[in-house]
Symmetry: C2
Subunit: 133 residues, 2 copies
């Protein structure tokens, strides 16, 4: 049975559910930063997913990228499945700008997370849900 | 016409050619670190690829992951398409171990690259070509 890793749960806010993945917003206002977590039990690497789920994941990654581009017109999208700290498979889809807090470095560990204020979180979620469905 | 970005060329050694991607080894002995570069002109984001190329890329990413697991039995595979410094689409597939130089941090910028000695490079290439085809 799928259960969201508690560390991921603590760091994120739920946005929507897609056929394969739970779509989450990282609670860090430095970057518009989505996490896609396949709702499958005991999956660590992409190769642990069944081939049809791998294809669905690719589709949902491109869907998230396209939606972020429409919502916030970033300079670049960073996509990554790392999982060194949290083993449960999760894919980062991050909108990057040349004036963001970490540019051009990757975001992980670059600067401390800046949690959204309640108002900013509400605005961000509304903006994202409009394009993420 | 496809042309490998000069910065990528300078930092890597060619390993093999797959149907979509040029497979390269990052010249950093800290980690077994592959780069996959689709041989397509003017591609920056995954969403710039035609859908059939996106599927081929996914297949080649899982192929590279599986091969790295067989060759070096890492603790974890990190997969990422960042491209903040080099725009040309390239996908990192990195074998990570809990005792490697950057663990558990991402590899980018963590420690200076350690170029392979000629002998170590020859060994690494032989080991990888045996599984990468």
């Amino acid at each position: 049975m799928f259960e969201l890793n508690p560390r991921i749960q603590a760091d994120t806010v739920p946005v929507t559910e897609w056929p394969l993945c739970r779509v989450l917003l990282m609670n860090d206002s430095n970057y518009p930063w989505l996490l896609l977590v396949p709702r499958r039990a005991d999956v660590v690497e992409i190769t642990d997913l069944a081939p049809e789920d791998q294809n669905a994941l690719l589709g949902e990654i491109t869907r998230a990228s396209t939606a972020l581009r429409r919502a916030v017109t970033p300079h670049r999208i960073n996509i990554a499945a790392l999982g060194n700290v949290v083993a449960q498979l999760h894919v980062h889809v991050i909108a990057r700008n040349t004036d963001d807090a970490a540019w051009p470095k990757p975001v992980w560990g670059a600067v401390p997370a800046q949690p959204y204020t309640p108002e900013a979180l509400e605005r961000r979620l509304a903006e994202l849900r409009a394009v993420l469905g």
